[in-house]
Structures are given as structure tokens and as C-alpha cells.
Assembly symmetry: C2
Homo-oligomer: 359 residues x 2
């Protein structure tokens, strides 16, 4: 167990945005909320699974919907506490701790707020090791753990509890309710015991995110190339360097979908790249050939600062580096690829691990 204080939050958010592979939203407001909660209620205990009892119940907390909405519609904090409490009340058992369901700007810091305010620990693991756009896309699903009972709460005081026959149905109902709640909802879901999480979760994600954040910050301070430093730190591969020449966006069924086009610079001069995204980056093509695809991570970093750029933050003229990072072994199983492989997202290609092409 170690304590998270205000000083840890920015590194976690920065590193989680690298793992967020373009999605998970801008962590800015979530970061402010988490810092304020720590200031008001004290530091948060970050535990490993081994420090808890096998039977302890853990309920992850997160935000669902369009993070861009946060600018106009602030969560008030009661909403996420309501969602968390509703799951425990429904199950009828005490909940020992919360955790992140995904590594991504916003959803890495939301559980810190919950833990600080309710004086409960946060567990150092998550269900993706990256960010994904749909609710069923967690390692819990591979291991047969239900998303439900899932609670959704808004800032007005409304709560919706969902109990479904599988996690695809949960995604369907939750997506509609999110729209009704104003394109954003605070959620509690995927209740699991510590024993279950030891098998199904991705261990150490919060610490990993914090280390990445520290690495970027240190590289900037020491004026070392931050892109290459972070790439080495995460065991990733350089896919492309270039300038964003166009971004096409469309909103489909509540998702921010689109494509970004890049013109090569440096050793990639003369080449072209295309990044296709659905909240997160799904596929990276160079000269029309798919080079990296889900479930491996495709992360876009500012060439100069190493700052991760979200899919909604990409603009014409940005100079960026695209790196590919091997995903968790959970996603490389048959069940994992059925859930989040390129074919699920409509790309008729076989998944090739990024290190096989670049290693």
C-alpha cells in the first residue's frame, strides 16, 4: 500500500493518456476533481490485490459517454458516488474498494475521486490496460464476469440500474441511458472479488501510468527526446513521424469516429499514414498497408513535448510521432480477439502483434 497525494495525480493522468491510445478523454476536469477530493478528504490508499482479502468486493467507477461534454456539464461528484453506492446497495454486500475500468485520461482519475471522498482504498489494476470504446471490452468479459448490476447516475440525482443476460446488452441499454442523461453518465459496474481480479484484471496499471508520466516529465526537464524516452519505457515501436494534413470526423451511434491523415517527416518523408479511430485509435496504415491494429495500442504523441494527443485533440498542422505498444496478453487470446480484434470493428484483416512487424 502506498498513498496517492495531489503530487501523484498529474503523472498518473499524463501516463494514462499515453495508454489511452487517443481515447478516455482529456483528464483535466477529472484531475481537478481528484486533487480537490484529496485536499478535502486526505490522500488515497493505493493497494495491490495481495493486500486485500480474497473475498473483498471491488466495484470499478468510471465516466461513460463523451468527455468533451464535461466542459459544459460538470459532474458534481455526488453522481459518481451515487453510482458506486447503488451497486453495493443492490448486491447487498459492503464494497471494499474501487478501481479503474480502463487506462485513459479521465477514467484513471475518476476512481481516485471516489476513493478520496468515501475514504476507501483504490486497487492498482484495471480491466483494459488501455482504453476501448465499448463497455463489454474488458478482460472481465473474457473471464465471464458480468458488467451488471451496473449503476448509472447523473448530476441531477437520477440513477438507472441495469441487470442483463450478457455484457453486449449492458452496452446497448447503457448507451441509450447515457444519451438521455446528456451524453455523459457516471457509472459503477463489473463488481468482482479480489480472487476474481487476480485472474482477470491487468495488474499494476496505475503505477505503470504514473511511471510513464514521470518519464515524460523527466525527459522534458533534462531536455532528452521525450518521444523516444517514453517509447523505450513502454517497450513500444516507432510507426511513423509526420504532420497532420487532414482530420475527418463523423458521429455514429454516439461515438466519435473518423480518420486522421499524416504526411511523413524525418525518415518518413514521402510516406503517408492514416489513423482510423472510434474514440480510440483502431488501425494505423502506412502507405495504405495496415501496420498496427487493435488490440495493440496506437499512441499519438506531440513530437516536441511527448504530450499524448487525444483523437478529439488532433488538428491540422500538428507534428506528431505515432508509436505502437504491445497490448496485454489477455487480448491476444481467441476470446480477447473476438471481443476487440480488428474484425469486431469491421476491418477484414488478421491481427498481427506489433512486435512481429517491428521487433
Amino acid at each position: 500500500m502506498r498513498l496517492l497525494t495531489e503530487g501523484n495525480i498529474e503523472d498518473i493522468a499524463l501516463g494514462a493518456a499515453v495508454l489511452g491510445t487517443g481515447g478516455g478523454g482529456d483528464p483535466y476536469i477529472g484531475m481537478l476533481m481528484a486533487k480537490k477530493a484529496i485536499r478535502d478528504y486526505g490522500p488515497v490508499e493505493l493497494c495491490t490485490l495481495d493486500e486485500l482479502d480474497e473475498d473483498d468486493l471491488i466495484v470499478p467507477t468510471a465516466m461513460m459517454g463523451a468527455p468533451t461534454v464535461m466542459v459544459e456539464k460538470m459532474p458534481n461528484g455526488d453522481d459518481i458516488v451515487n453510482a458506486f453506492n447503488a451497486v453495493g446497495k443492490y448486491i447487498g454486500k459492503p464494497v471494499r474498494a474501487t478501481m479503474s475500468i480502463e487506462a485513459g485520461g479521465m477514467n484513471s482519475v475518476v476512481p481516485i475521486y471516489v476513493a478520496a471522498r468515501l475514504r476507501i482504498p483504490m486497487v492498482d489494476c484495471d480491466g483494459m490496460g488501455r482504453a476501448f470504446p465499448e463497455l463489454q471490452m474488458v478482460t472481465h468479459t473474457i473471464h465471464g464476469i458480468d458488467a451488471t448490476p451496473m449503476a448509472m447516475s447523473d448530476e441531477r440525482g437520477n440513477t438507472v440500474l441495469i441487470e442483463t443476460i450478457n455484457n453486449m446488452w449492458t452496452e446497448r441499454f447503457a448507451r441509450s441511458v447515457t444519451v438521455d442523461m446528456g451524453a455523459m453518465a457516471m457509472i459503477g459496474l463489473y463488481a468482482a472479488t479480489v480472487k476474481q481480479l487476480k485472474t482477470c484484471s491487468i495488474i499494476g496499471t496505475m503505477t505503470q501510468a504514473e511511471e510513464i508520466g514521470k518519464t515524460i516529465r523527466a525527459a522534458r526537464l533534462n531536455e532528452i527526446d521525450p518521444v523516444n524516452t517514453v517509447r523505450e519505457h513502454v517497450g513500444g515501436f516507432m510507426i511513423f513521424k509526420g504532420k497532420i494534413s487532414d482530420v475527418e470526423r463523423r458521429t455514429e451511434a454516439g461515438f466519435a469516429k473518423g480518420d486522421a491523415y499524416l504526411e511523413g517527416t524525418d525518415e518518413y518523408a514521402g510516406q503517408k499514414a492514416q489513423l482510423s479511430f472510434q474514440n480510440e485509435h483502431l488501425v494505423a496504415k502506412v502507405d495504405n498497408e495496415i501496420q498496427v491494429s487493435v488490440p495493440d495500442l496506437i499512441t499519438v504523441l506531440d513530437s516536441d513535448t511527448g504530450e499524448p494527443i487525444t483523437t478529439e485533440g488532433m488538428r491540422y498542422g500538428f507534428r506528431v510521432a505515432v508509436i505502437g505498444i504491445p497490448c496485454s496478453h489477455h487480448w491476444r487470446t481467441e476470446a480477447g480477439l473476438a471481443l476487440v480484434g480488428p474484425q469486431y470493428f469491421g476491418y477484414d484483416v488478421k491481427y498481427v502483434p506489433v512486435e512481429e512487424r517491428y521487433g
Copy 2:
């Protein structure tokens, strides 16, 4: 207390369709389900509120959505039992009985099925005394009783529980979930004690429906004009007799909206009438003047048989009689008219009780 057997069901469904004012759906499949449940599990106890304890908890059961879907997508019975049980489980108290939330073809018989299958009583009252298209339009709302916790279940085994800050929000979430469940959901909602129902509910609706059904059947047997017989029985007024010359339909936000046009016959020859509906009939105009409006009941009967015609059952060429029936005193209060008066539905006219124009 009296027992409802298979023999009572058809009269109740027929009479409830008169009170359903064009909405509430064709009771045919619900009737089959209720009859089968009585056959399998025995007759249903129909109680008055006075026969129960003041603290007894009552949870109404109903179908929400498009009754026309039932033809292709049969409820399996488990769905409505799941919805009923989910409300009691969530509240954490035993539920003593069920009741109808509205008088209408389908929703008068759904609770009979639940009562038969779970061997619990059904209470002889409802929350409308007629049918209305939206969920908040019940006398419970006037008296400050929440629709939530509301449970919605489908035939696959999915359940969604809603807990909101007011009944308008309940309507909003429930409408989206109904669409996701396949345009039809089975619901439990508006839990209330017997003490509360004595003030807020409309008493004796089931018996009233059954009496109307009996009256129509007796008139047919004795070859007496069934339209006039039922009109007298319910204390209604003859508004128009005519032939349906056109029906315009449109689907808006999950509702069946439209207008039916009638050309006068008998003493109404030369006149024209227009009926505007949203699931139920809302407004009846004769020669472009509004004659009857919500919350009073506008009921369309087959001229020859007295059979009530649902809004979705209206076809070119049908010879019909339109009768207006005074609504419950609950709806004529300021709070009642704010909830279901003509202005809520977008008609900029003052409500005039039907007996003031025709009495």
C-alpha cells in the same frame, strides 16, 4: 373480495377497451395469457382497498411500448414477473398485491396474469380511469407518489431499474429502454401503500370495466342498440356518427400519432369530424370546432356491434359512433390538467368538461 375466473376476463378486456379511449392496445394476447394463467394456477382474488391493511405495499404491473409488436414478439410471462419482483426486491419489503396502472385493452389484463401466477390478490383500482400515452400521466403523480423504483424487463431476461428525481425523467429513460428492448417492455412501477391508494387511485375500475363489457354483450344478445346502451351505462354523450373517410398516421418519438377524418351519417349527415390521437384519442373536432378534449374520454365504437375500435385499428370505411365520457375528478384539478390537459399535448385551448357542452 371476489374471484376472477376465465369467464370474467373477456368482459373486463372489452369494457377496458371502451375506457381505453383508443389506446392500451388490442387485449387479445394479454387475454390469452391471463386465461391460461388462471387455468394453470387458479382464479384471482380481486380485492377492494378496504380489504387490505393500510400499510400493505401494492406494485402495479403493465406493458410499455407498442402493443402492435406483440404479434411478432410474444411476452413469455417471466418478463412481467421479473419486473414485478425486481421492484419488491429493490425496496426490500414484501409486496402484497398488484393492480392496473391504466384502463386499456392490454394493461387491464396484464396484472391478472401476474396475480394468477404469483398467487397474490389484484386490487380493484387503477391510476387513470382511462388510458394515457405517457408514464407520468397517473393520479399517483398528482399526489406526489414516485413512479420509481421502476423495473423494466424483456423476454430475454434483461432488467433495468430506474430511480429518478421526478416522473418526467422516468418517462424519458423508460422510453429509450423500451426501444432497446424491442419497442415493448414489461414494467412494475408506482409502488404505493393501500393508505396512499385510498387517496390517489381511481377506485373500482376493474369492476366498472367488467360491467361495461357485460352491458355490451347483453345488448348484442338482446338485439338492443349496443352503442346507446354503453353510452347510457357510462354516463357519456353522443358526439358524432359517421364513416371514416381517411386516417393519417405518423410515428413520432416512439408514439403512434395521427388524425382520423369522419363524414357524418344519420343526424350528423353533412357534418365532418376529426379525431387527433397520440396512442389515445386526444381531441375531437366537429366542423373544425373542438368539442371534446383530454382528459375527458373520447371513445370510438363500431356502430353495429358496439365494439371499441383502437386508434391503430381504425380503417377507411368503418361506420362508427364517437362518444365523450367525463373523466375522473382527479384530472379536473389544476394539477391534473397541467399533467394531461389539452395544452400539455400542444392544443392551445381551455379544457371544457364534456357535460358542459352536451349535458
